[in-house]
Symmetry: D2
Subunit: 302 residues, 4 copies
């Protein structure tokens, strides 16, 4: 299979889907991104890297950072996290407060905002610098410079009333260990990291290699790595996880910056980027490209 030709073809067919979506506009900096951009990169476990389009343009990774924060907490803390956050799909919009109320401040999973705040809170307790830990890890795995976009981080902080509400609400149930403002600060900065498709695909290889880092050291056990994949598949794309599993059939995590990271267990990791989103917050062109790729290759886990 000529992967380069395949990716080029998929990019050409998928990029036009952007016309039906909208760039996230609640963060001014994100709203300025050209919705027509499209990039895609595939990193394989045997160290090949194929990319197409805007695969070298950094974008705001946003919620994709949640995967790496989760990995770092599990690596340091084992399964203790699961007493503070669940592993079930939310069945609700990604920043819903309803479920938190019904379940006593325990978020449904680590990928909705409330759950990600708990993960960042725990990482802050474990490392003293949650943001720094995520950034360092991403730099090492991607072999790229990875930096925060201060303008994005500032916008998040200014407009982050919903996340502040979530954090205070969990604090009211005793489910935060650190002060609300510190947790929010690390969370906003972690979401404001900028990377390109190539770097994110390389960083995602950890999950394709069942827990092995790029340098050959083990960070997660194979079981733990597989379980992160399972959480990505059932909870990684807001309230459309079922739809994503149905169409794409891979563990994936999307961000409102328009990126989606997908894992092909044992084989590789993919990152697509297209800033125009469908209403649930996933990249329209990105989901289309992943659908086309797994249909063409049969790489769905099913």
């Amino acid at each position: 299979m000529d992967l380069q030709a395949l990716l080029d073809d998929i990019a050409a067919r998928s990029a036009p889907m952007a016309a039906g979506g909208r760039v996230a506009d609640y963060i001014p900096r994100l709203a300025q991104v050209d919705p027509g951009r499209f990039g895609m990169a595939l990193a394989t476990v045997d160290d090949a890297l194929v990319g197409t389009g805007d695969d070298r343009t950094p974008f705001s990774i946003q919620s994709i950072s949640k995967v790496f924060a989760l990995i770092l907490v599990l690596a340091r803390d084992g399964g203790r996290l699961w007493s503070r956050v669940g592993r079930e799909p939310s069945g609700d919009p990604f920043n819903s407060l309803v479920q938190l109320e019904h379940e006593q401040g325990i978020p449904r999973n680590p990928f909705i905002n409330a759950g990600a705040l708990v993960v960042t809170d725990r990482l802050l307790s474990l490392t003293g610098d949650a943001f720094g830990a995520v950034r360092t890890f991403l730099r090492e795995e991607s072999a790229q410079e990875v930096d925060m976009d201060p303008e994005v981080a500032g916008s998040e902080a200014a407009h982050g009333h919903r996340n502040a509400a979530l954090a205070h609400f969990m604090a009211s149930f005793g489910n935060l260990e650190n002060p609300v403002d510190q947790v929010l600060d690390h969370y906003f900065r972690q979401c404001a990291l900028a990377m390109d498709c190539r770097g994110l695909a390389r960083a995602g290889l950890l999950l394709a290699r069942h827990g092995m880092r790029g340098d050959g050291s083990r960070l997660l056990s194979p079981s733990e790595a597989k379980r992160v994949n399972a959480v990505m598949l059932t909870c990684g794309t807001y309230d459309t996880a079922g739809e994503f599993a149905y169409r794409v059939g891979l563990p994936g995590k999307s961000g409102v910056g328009g990126g989606i990271l997908a894992v092909i267990p044992g084989r590789g990791a993919l990152c697509v980027w297209g800033p125009a989103l469908e209403p649930s917050g996933n990249s329209l062109a990105g989901v289309e490209a992943l659908d086309r790729l797994t249909t063409a290759t049969g790489w769905s886990v099913f």
Copy 2:
């Protein structure tokens, strides 16, 4: 009717109900109050004042303050408030976030915490000092010293994560005019005002006199005053408004300090105080006493 004898008798029969309830314990200062205290006072529109038991002991008025903040906003701003807060019973626990999510940041009514925060926010915009406006009004109407208990206010601020969550959540929908921390500060202090039954009963006369202040000046039109009574009857006792209307049949507003203010339109205002609460947050002995009073006198509005 010998009102003094009636109140003494009702107090003797109602105070023992306290044994079945619990003092609010989320604020340390409130948790120290003796659950066996009981006071009751009736102020009439013809200036009589009858009291029994601990009717001269100040207690934390808590949510009863919401009635007066509402009156002050309506007096200055007419019906404009109702675009930002509804008038329907909540059908949910008093600090629920669920409804706010479903209804785009518009609280159901001005007596649930979210709605009261909107009222305080508006009063702050209108006066520059929401807390001061409430305190001044209560001093004038009650002819008492009325002061904040700083220890209570401090506890509220320290443990107020739920209220902070509500405020941030409404801010995320654009339904706050002032910064979250300022609104919370005025709200916590307003709730921490301390008064006794006699003072609150006197202050409540405004609603019994259909909008006339103690000095004979008009603050609300008769229609507006009646409408505040209607909101108290349908929304004044957390999620037991139906039960309260059924048993007592008067507009009433309770607070977790154990006080309940009730209005007998055209006739007088009552305040009862008993710190032991039922699970919804209303004074057990207080509701019992009001039930007995309206049964004995027929003063239910129905």
Copy 3:
């Protein structure tokens, strides 16, 4: 006060409100009613009866029948009903299933459809003929012929999937005593009774007279009658009970046939009819007329 002139004036000013509403269309027979019809009648405790407009035109009483079924159960069975149905406003659309799920098959109050089915079920157990008991009572109190419109009853049965769902759902929690189809049959027929404003106003006098029937016999104790009024005020107009209390300030019960029965405790009972409804299911012209009446007369309970 010239009541006739007042009612004529209110009718003239209120009837045009119908233009902003829609006739209930889920029952074909109701959909055929002219939305411009308007009638109003006031019966007083001293046996006066004043009417205006289409006050002698029978219409489908629909949910207003729930008040009378409740009265008949309370008269026979005292407070036992309250273990099977609550007394709190629902805070939800009138036929919602959500609350039933959360509260184990106990409807919030006797005026939402689920609660009314429980009342009819109990009346069926107590009398063997719930429909007949309601009809007989209404005939006696109204001094009118009262009959069911078979076409309306048939439509309800044919389109009554939501009510069937409610009944089966409560049955699944063990909260029905009779077979689902029997309960539904009596319920649909009771709702399909047709009466005019004059007859309903007369029948409503029982609640204005604190439980005394038209023939001078006592059906409910004064406390029970007042409590029915309280339930009407807090729960009688679907999810707009707060709004109705705010505007009108009287216990009231509306039906999707366009009628509203309101009680002026100690003074009289009112019935208005205007088939065009607002989205919650209350007569637009009817609420307007009641608002105007209580504003003009001061007869609000507050």
Copy 4:
């Protein structure tokens, strides 16, 4: 790998988990089953069949039948079904009505009861005999006699008020094509089919072979078969799909009879049976056995 030894070992270690669970008791016939029974069978795409324990004892397949009804509808009708039922995890107990209310009668997915009723309704329209179509298919694929347990079917019908409520509720939104009682009749009978682990494992091979029947004919396209697997993984185990994916990592569908069918794409199909359930309705020993198997073999899809 000695599969027989592995299965025997897993059975010995997993069967004792039953002590912590309870047999489904809402159907008298199911309540009589010995909770200590345990069977397991693995059918592979190369026609091997290994079993252990009570792998030849028929049990009530209950909700596992939903997978086959779905397959039969997709085979006849393609993707048209998805306009009437979603593909998202429910995030709620399996027979919840709440979501249906919020989403206008469109069930979240085909494996919650409401969705399965829609599937059976459609299969009834397509075939004239939904029950018969499922039974015939299962007979052919399992190469077993497959029959309904009339006592189970009768119990379902007698106690099926919740399913009747669901069906009427969907009918009220126009989301049923056939009369409610007919749909329920076919659904209750389909759930009352009895099979053993060996038969179900063989029938499940269709999904492991990406849509090929046992006789070599194609029923579903590879994409469609993979998509059924995706729906099983995200929605197949009531409100614990995330947990099941995390622990087991295979598409699976459980039934309250204590069976679980799991698919190892490209490799085989498994059926475990242990009647004692955890609170969500999945076999305790069954989930344990599947967890042990995928841990030991690495056959998780992740």
